[in-house]
């Protein structure tokens, strides 16, 4: 079946503007994660949400980052008042229900490369 998809693949934003990044996860997956990947520093988790929860559970609390879950398999990462340091690749991942044997595994989308100018 279809994997995790993200849109847009590339985004250029002017500093101070708000951006929204979309993730469509795998059907049946309940937990969605957002990671930020910077070159040579691996990835840090930004937020995750379980089931249908509209509110995100922030891995690293930050007032400018939030995620919404308008549909079970869709998540939107919103970044307010972008800064140049936000330039990175944003990865979305989803995982199967907790009762599944492979619940630890996360399936990643291709990422959105955000450039803040």
């Amino acid at each position: 079946g279809a994997g995790v998809s993200q849109s847009p693949r590339y985004k250029v934003a002017k500093r101070g503007r708000d951006v929204a990044l979309r993730c469509d996860s795998i059907s049946g997956h309940v937990t969605l994660y957002w990671y930020r990947q910077t070159l040579g520093q691996g990835s840090e988790v930004l937020t995750y949400s379980q089931s249908d929860a509209q509110r995100d559970k922030s891995g690293r609390p930050s007032g400018r980052f939030s995620a919404e879950r308008p549909e079970r398999s869709v998540s939107t990462l919103k970044i307010q008042r972008t800064e140049q340091g936000d330039s990175a690749v944003y990865l979305c991942a989803s995982s199967p229900p907790p009762d599944r044997e492979l619940a630890y595994e996360q399936y990643f989308g291709p990422g959105t490369r955000l450039t803040v100018t």
């Binding site: 995790v4 993200q6 937990t31 994660y33 990671y35 990947q37 040579g40 520093q41 691996g42 990835s43 840090e44 988790v45 995750y48 379980q50 559970k57 891995g59 990865l91 991942a93 995982s95 619940a103 630890y104 595994e105 996360q106 399936y107 990643f108 989308g109 291709p110 990422g111």
Partner: protein
Amino acid sequence: DQQVKQNSPSLSVQEGRISILNCDYTNSMFDYFLWYKKYPAEGPTFLISISSIKDKNEDGRFTVFLNKSAKHLSLHIVPSQPGDSAVYFCAGTNNNAGNMLTFGGGTRLMVKP
């Protein structure tokens, strides 16, 4: 403070030989470790994992070893193939922390024909 470290940013291996990628961690609460493989312009794809109660897990050409006392894990690929050339990330996670993955910085593996 990086909880997961991959100290070798790159590794070059001849086709057919063994590739050994190393990873160190500091968080003793991790109960599961995963290796991901990433090609350019694509998201990471799951490769192999190991529970903290095991010391070895094998899947075809890929074997992951875990040394809990040393807080060290390694990924062995044998024999290495040119198609294995990619960036490899190790990650640790804890079931009580929402299974969020903490990644290392990655190691770029180049397998030469």
